[in-house]
Symmetry: C3
Subunit: 331 residues, 3 copies
C-alpha cells in the first residue's frame, strides 16, 4: 500500500530530510530495492550504496545528516527498529475473509468472536473459544475447550490440544503442535515396561508470542507449561512438560528443553541448544548454539554468554578450545 | 470421575491407612492439590508438605506408616508407579464418538473395526484397516493399505504412509509422520546428480508404542524399519530407514537415527543424541544428551552410561572434561 | 510390474550373462529376496550369497563375469547406481486419480494443469498454480499464489505458504512447511520487546529437489531463500531465511541453517549439523554429523571433511580428540 514518507516518518518517529511528500509502497533491502521502495542502513559505510540504490527513501542514523542527495532520508536513532516498524506500517494486510469456510467443521458449542476467519478443512472442536479477528488456517485442528485470544494468526495444519490457552496476537506457524502429552513414564521393575505418568496439566501461551513451524510444546504433567509474553520461538523447537519460559525470551531453531526447566526473562537461546530437566537459566543469559545445559544446573549472569556442553562461560570455554588446539598440534 | 480411595487402593495394590470410603476425583501434584485430589511422595522429606497440602489422599512408601494424620494414606512400595496407575484409573476417558465424521473421507474399500472414530477432515485411503475402538484425529491422512490395530489413538494431522503397520494401543501424537521414504541416493559420477535408491520397504510399529509430536519414522529401503513393543519416543525424533529399535526403549526429544541402526531392548537415549548408520547399541546402554555415535560403532554394557561425541563411557569422558578444564585454566 | 531382464538391461545399460528372457518384478535386498526379484552386489565378497539367494537375477560388477551360475547376471560398472535405476524402472506407479477430490477445496482462481490430482481434504488457495501431473496429497494447504511445477509429489499435510515457488519433479514429504516467516526481530531498547523484522521475501525451490518429512524452510526476509536443482534434504531439517543452497547438495536429518548462509554445489552436510548465520560452505566440502559452523565462517576445500564445533578439518580434529583422550587417561 502506498504511503507518503511523511506519514511513515510520523509513525516511526523519524525526521525527514528531503521531500516528505513522495510515496513508497514497501520495504526492501538495498541490494534488491526498486523505485518506490524504502530501505535502511545502520552503518555509515553502507550509506553510499544506499544512496546509489534505486530506493526512493532511506532510513538512516544521524551520520547521514547533511549528505547532499536526491534521496529522501528518514533520520532516526535506531534505523533497524525504525525499518521494522515501517515494514509493519506498509505491510499488505492479508484479508482473511471473516466466516467459516464451508469445508471447515466448527462444533456448535464452540464460541467464535467477531470477525473470526476459519479456513478450509479446519476443525474446531466443542467448547473451544476463538477471539475476535483471529484467523485459523486451513487444516488446523483446534481441540475441545482450547482458548485462543484476539488477533491471533494460526497458520495451516497447526494442532492445538484440548484445553490449551493462547493469549492475544499470538502467531503460530504451520505444523506446530501445542499442548501434546509430555514424555513421562514410570518403569515397572517387575515387567520392565514403561507406564504412562499422568500428562493432564495445562499449557498457557501469553500475549504476543510467536511460535515457529513444526515446533512442539507439551502441556504440563500435573501443573502448567507456560510461555511468557513476547517470547519468540523459532522452527522445530521442543519444549517439554512443566517448562516455565519467561518474557521476551528468544529461542532459535531446533533448541530443545526437557521437563520442568525455568528460563527467566530476556534469555537468548541459540540454535540446537539442549537443556536438561529442572535446569534454570537466569535473566539475560545468552547460550551459544549447540550448547548443552545439565539437569538441575543454574546458569546466572545478565548479559553473560555461555557455550559448550556442559555450558560454561564463553571466555572460559574459548580458553579450553585454544588449549586443545595447541595440544592437538603437538601430537 | 469420583472413586473411593478403597477402590483405587485395590486397583493399584496399596494398603489404606485411614478412611478408605472417602472419594477422590483426580491426581495432582502436592503443590497444586485441592480437596478431592490424590497426590504422591517418594521421599520421606516431602511427607510433611504432602500432609499439609489440600489433597484428600496421599500415596507414599512405608516411611509414612504410623504418621498421625487426618489424610488418608495409600502405602505402596513404588509410590510413583502406583500414582501413575491411579492416574490412569481416574483418567477422564475422552469419549470419541464412534463413527465417521461427515467431513472425513473414508475410502469404500477401507475396513473399519467396531467403535472406530474418524474425526473431522481426516482421510482414510483404500484398503486401509483400522482396528476396533481406534480413534483417528482431525486432519489425519491414513495411506492406502495402512494397518492400524485396536485401541490406538492417532492425534490430529498425523500422516501414515501407504502400507505402514501399527499394533494395538499405539499412541501417535499430532503431526508425526510414519512410513516416509528413507534418505537414500546414489550419485551418478558422470552427471553429479543424486538418483533415488529404492525406498520400498516396510514400517512395523509394535504394540504399546507411543510416538511424540512431529516425530518422523521412515519406512525401510528394501527391508523393514521396526519399532519394538512398549518403546516410547518423544517429540521431533528422526528414525531413518531400516532401523531396528528394540522393546521398552526410551528415546528423548530430537534424537536422530540415520539408517540401519540396531537399538537393543531397554536402551535409554537422551535428547538430541545422534547415531550414525549401521551402529548398534546393546541392551541396557544409556546415552547422555547430545551424544554422538559413529557409524558402525557398537556400544555395549548393560546399565553403562555413555556421553560425548564420539560417545565414550561416562567416567572416561568426565575425566577428559576435567583434564580440559584444568588445561584451560593454565592458558 | 513384470519385465524381462533384457529390457531392464537395456534401460540401465547392463550386459546380460544368462537368459535375458526371464522376468523379474521388483528389486530386493539379497537377504530378503524371493523368486522374481532382482538384487545387486558391489563387492565380490558378497557374490556367493547373492548367487545362493532366491533372487532371479543379480546386478554385479565385472568381478562376477565368468562365474558358473544359474542366476542371470547383469554386469555394469556401477552396480548400486544401476540397481537404483532398475528399481525406478520396475517401480509400481501409484496411480493418483486425476481430478479434485470432492472433500478438497480449490479456489476458483487457482490454475490446475492437466492430470493434476488433488486429494481429500486438501486446500488450494486463490491464484495458486499447480503444474501438469502434479499430485497434492490429503490435507495439504497450498497458499495463495504459490506455484508448483510439473510432476511434483506433495505428500499429505504439507503446508506451502503464499507465493512460494517449486520447480518440476519436486518431492515434498509429509508435514513439511515451505515458505514460513523467518526468525527475525529487532529489540526495542526502551521496552525490551522484540518487534518483527519484515519477512516478506520469497522462496524458490528448483527442479528435482526432494524435501523430507516435517522439514521447514523459511522464505527470505527481504530477498529470496533458494534451494538449488537436485538438492536432497532429509527429515526435520531447518533452513532459515535468505539461505542460498546450491545444486546437488545433500543435507542429512535434523541439520539446521540459520539465516543468510551460502552452501555451494555438491556439499554434503551430516545429521544434526548446525550452521551459523552468514557462513559459507564452499563447493564439495563435507561436514560430519553434529558439527557446528560459526557465523560468518567460510569453509573451503573440495572433498575436504570437517568435523566438530567449531568445525575444523577432520584430520586436525581427530588429533585433538586423540590428545584429549591421552590427557584424560593421565588424570
Amino acid at each position: 500500500m502506498k504511503r507518503r514518507v511523511s506519514e511513515i516518518a510520523e509513525a516511526i518517529g523519524a525526521r525527514v530530510v528531503g521531500d516528505g511528500g513522495i510515496e513508497v509502497s514497501k520495504v526492501a533491502s538495498v541490494r534488491a530495492a526498486a523505485g518506490g521502495d524504502l530501505v535502511f542502513i545502520e552503518d555509515e559505510k553502507n550509506l553510499d550504496s544506499a544512496l546509489h540504490s534505486k530506493a526512493s527513501a532511506v532510513i538512516a542514523g544521524d551520520f547521514a545528516e547533511g549528505r547532499d542527495t536526491s534521496k529522501v532520508l528518514l533520520i532516526v536513532s535506531h534505523p533497524r527498529l525504525a525499518f521494522a516498524r515501517a515494514g509493519e506500517f506498509l505491510r499488505e494486510r492479508t484479508e482473511h475473509q471473516p466466516g467459516v469456510h464451508p469445508t471447515a467443521f466448527v462444533h456448535p458449542s464452540a464460541k467464535l468472536g467477531a470477525g473470526v476467519s476459519i479456513d478450509a478443512n479446519a476443525t474446531v472442536d466443542g467448547e473451544a473459544a476463538i477471539g475476535n479477528h483471529t484467523w485459523i488456517g486451513a487444516g488446523c485442528a483446534i481441540g475441545e475447550g482450547a482458548e485462543i485470544g484476539e488477533d491471533c494468526k494460526i497458520y495451516p495444519n497447526v494442532t492445538i490440544y484440548p484445553g490449551a490457552k493462547l493469549g492475544n496476537r499470538v502467531i503460530v506457524h504451520a505444523g506446530a503442535v501445542l499442548g501434546s502429552d509430555g514424555f513421562g513414564y514410570v518403569r515397572d521393575p517387575a515387567t520392565g515396561r514403561h507406564e504412562k505418568f499422568p500428562q493432564i496439566g495445562e499449557l498457557e501461551i501469553e500475549d504476543d508470542v510467536e511460535i515457529g513451524a513444526n515446533t512442539t510444546i507439551d502441556r504440563g504433567a500435573l501443573e502448567v507449561t507456560r510461555i511468557g509474553r513476547g517470547t519468540k520461538i523459532d522452527n522445530l523447537v521442543h519444549i517439554g512438560h512443566n517448562c516455565q519460559i519467561g518474557e521476551n525470551v528468544i529461542i532459535a531453531a531446533q533448541a530443545g528443553f526437557s521437563g520442568s526447566i525455568v528460563i527467566e526473562d530476556n534469555v537468548v537461546i541459540g540454535g540446537q541448544v539442549g537443556v536438561g530437566e529442572h535446569a534454570r537459566i537466569q535473566e539475560g543469559v545468552m547460550l551459544g548454539g549447540q550448547s548443552g545445559v545439565l539437569p538441575k544446573k543454574i546458569l546466572r549472569g545478565k548479559g553473560i554468554a555461555f557455550w559448550g556442553t556442559p555450558a560454561k562461560p564463553l571466555r572460559e570455554y574459548l580458553k579450553q578450545l585454544a588449549a586443545l588446539a595447541k595440544l592437538g598440534k603437538r601430537q
